[in-house]
Symmetry: C2
Subunit: 260 residues, 2 copies
């Protein structure tokens, strides 16, 4: 069995619609490649009790928990202290991180002050292991099975790539897609379900797509993308062959890959 | 107190990274306008027990639950029958919906067959109220405080706009933004926290932005956007004035609105 992952996106700005999350898809894809499939995502607000109880719920349920957001210097950045509270450990200045940040700030031109707000970014749950990136001297960190990263996509991605080699992965999830223009889901549902039943360990999904044609009504340019996914490449390829054959029998023109 | 909302995004394709969700931000924004703020989002897989238990957990916790995804005709579309199971009611053909769909299919050229797969889209939890859109004759539905919509953004949005006038909203959430180039979060954190403490009913957020300059290191084009949000417009405007004054005192050039 592959290890499992949960992502917590922490931040009022995502729940209010101000900010469009850009981290879910990146992490979902990368975790799939590492064989640590993402099983659940939650978007939660900057509310201490909510963060603490959610972290404790999901860290007991999944092998890995990844969080994004809330580790900056401002009053609404409360993820780090909430992780400490969730684990019941002190939230304390991490001396090595403080020294690295202070040295970085001193090198800037003009130098940046290591004030109380910035010191919060060097304050970690006791026992946490920092995640350092090339982009910022303020660290993310791993506490137990909880990996805490920045919300800014570029920083989050840098932190994740530092973290990734330390994660014990599973069997990578592989997938193959077939798409066919002019095919309605309702016409293939029965045949597709039969294929799914022959490959119970695969996850076979059907995703309609639409290419509106100017001046036309409905979705005359639409079709369907059929995706087979799992940890057995031979099974994935066999299911993909059956799907292709089914589409050909219907007179469709199946094309390997996703619609472009 | 405004009514609260939770969104369930149902679908393996979002958790695997194949599909980038496009519904969260739309619903977050629209629900804020209606005074039904989104308090939590969960992305969950096409697994019956997970859907059923999650629906029952969140419908007890929030005034409204919105779901997207899983109401098409294929084997991986299981949201509707799971909602029936969550409410402990039969999942039965909804005769009016069946008749409307059959009439729609008969009008197509060439006519579309009302087969078993398509009949599933007219099968609803007993007692559900259909949500009809102009885009498709297959309905979404409301069951209790759970509003079930399609995952395809264009169809979801059409269903939501049919549903919206039936929702009893609260006081709309209003927000005002100020941004300033060249300002670091670490320099304003203390002053911003003091403003937040003077307006405890507001949600004041600080969001760094980055405009990388070619050839430069770091983020020399960056700055910060400061957002005040709440149901009291006078409070939001007063906090925004204090934020603007704070930035001016620092020698920054505060600009009303979001960075463009």
């Amino acid at each position: 069995m592959n290890p499992t992952a949960c992502l917590l996106i922490i931040g009022n700005e995502v729940l209010s619609g101000r900010t469009r999350d850009a981290n879910l898809q990146f992490l979902a894809t990368r975790l799939g490649e590492l064989g640590i499939p993402l099983r659940e995502v939650r978007v939660i607000p900057d509310v201490p009790d909510t963060i603490i109880s959610t972290v404790n719920e999901v860290r007991a349920k999944y092998d890995h928990v990844f969080t994004t957001g809330g580790i900056g210097p401002t009053h609404d950045d409360i993820t780090s202290e909430c992780i400490a509270a969730a684990f019941g450990v002190p939230w304390a200045v991490h001396e090595e991180s403080r020294a690295l940040m202070a040295a970085d700030y001193a090198r800037r031109d003009p130098p940046v002050e290591m004030n109380a707000a910035r010191l919060r970014m060097a304050t970690l749950p006791l026992g946490a292991v920092p995640i350092r990136s090339e982009i910022t001297s303020a660290p993310g960190f791993t506490m137990g099975n909880v990996h805490v990263m920045a919300g800014v996509p570029r920083i989050m991605q840098a932190m994740f790539e530092v973290l990734a080699p330390t994660l014990v992965g599973g069997v990578p999830v592989v997938s193959r897609s077939v798409h066919a223009v002019g095919v309605f889901e309702g016409n293939i549902a029965e045949g597709l379900e039969a294929i799914q039943k022959r490959f119970p360990d695969l996850d076979i999904g059907s995703y309609p797509f639409y290419r509106p044609v100017p001046g036309a009504t409905g979705f005359p340019g639409g079709g369907v993308a059929l995706v087979s996914k799992g940890i057995s490449l031979p099974d994935v390829e066999a299911a993909t062959a059956e799907i292709t054959e089914m589409l050909s029998r219907m007179g469709a023109d199946p094309i390997q890959g996703e619609p472009s």
